[in-house]
Symmetry: D2
Subunit: 106 residues, 4 copies
């Protein structure tokens, strides 16, 4: 995601407000959880949710994820790819196909 300058825009936003003092990795991890709760609230009583609400809450989760990755020197796309490869190993197609069973009981 940093490729087209988005990470730079996020850094500038934080820096202009002198907010990096609040953005410890631990506080950012809390923030991801808090925003994930707000995202879930869109679906609290129904499987349908107004797209506009979801759009905003999902953006908040993503934003804190990107800030946490940046704080820790991690590349968001690279870690998603690495994890995808690990998950491929844990859930081989022939055993996982069409099943939502967790890998340790496949």
């Amino acid at each position: 995601m940093p490729d087209d300058g988005l990470m730079g825009e996020l850094r500038a936003f934080v820096s202009e407000r002198d907010w990096s003092q609040f953005h410890s990795a631990s506080n950012l991890a809390k923030s991801v959880s808090i925003e994930a709760g707000e995202l879930l609230e869109c679906y609290q009583w129904s499987d349908d949710a107004p797209l506009e609400n979801v759009r905003g809450e999902l953006a908040d989760v993503l934003t804190y994820c990107l800030m946490l990755a940046d704080r820790l020197g991690l590349d968001p796309k690279a870690i998603v790819r690495t994890k995808l490869e690990e998950t491929r190993q844990k859930y081989p197609v022939d055993r996982a196909k069409g099943r939502s069973t967790k890998y340790d009981r496949l």
Copy 2:
């Protein structure tokens, strides 16, 4: 993020396992919250966390965020940018600088 094919890889991963039947928007929103809890667990008792653990859990949160965005036809980078612009309005530099106060009490 879809620009270099990552979203295509995620779609192929899901499709090969016939998992899209489980990936309703509501289930993906739950999954984001569940993984955000695992990310937070890295920081449960300490502000320091093993980078390798955080790497994996943060990747899980990001992965479900990307899948949810894709499910709803949202562009991850575009929604982060739109939200950033909205947050800029809510937290003007002159009032927000150096303060973690919520916008409605700034």
Copy 3:
């Protein structure tokens, strides 16, 4: 809940292990969120969940809630009652009946 000695048992459990040093209010709040995520995981892909799993995860959420209340000098049952009264005001029967709408849009 403290009436029959349960809170005393929880305190003894923590004290024997010399764990109160880890149990700041902030860490206990994180713990509530982490365990709430594990509870939610029981329902990640289905509305049905093995009762035995839910039993254990719900107990964990409750345990950390009780510890946090105790840490802050709050009485669990009293705060539930107080909040129930507040929620009654926000959701009058005649307007809220049969609707899951949030109070600010009722």
Copy 4:
């Protein structure tokens, strides 16, 4: 907690509003997570939080926990006690004392 009628008050509150139709176990588990996120928000940027805010958010988490227990026919105090006994076994005093290490690495 049901001993002094609190559970009965919660049931009456739900019943008067005809809300049990929304209170599936799965929706209640989501609600626990959502409210746990709001509780955590009190501690997002600081280890101190206004007691009045925490009081209200902790009450919300507890309320949904009690409703979920009731929905599933579980006794809140009994499951906390059972889990406490299990945790005692996993964290023997001599090995766990003064350490926040997870049981599988003790």
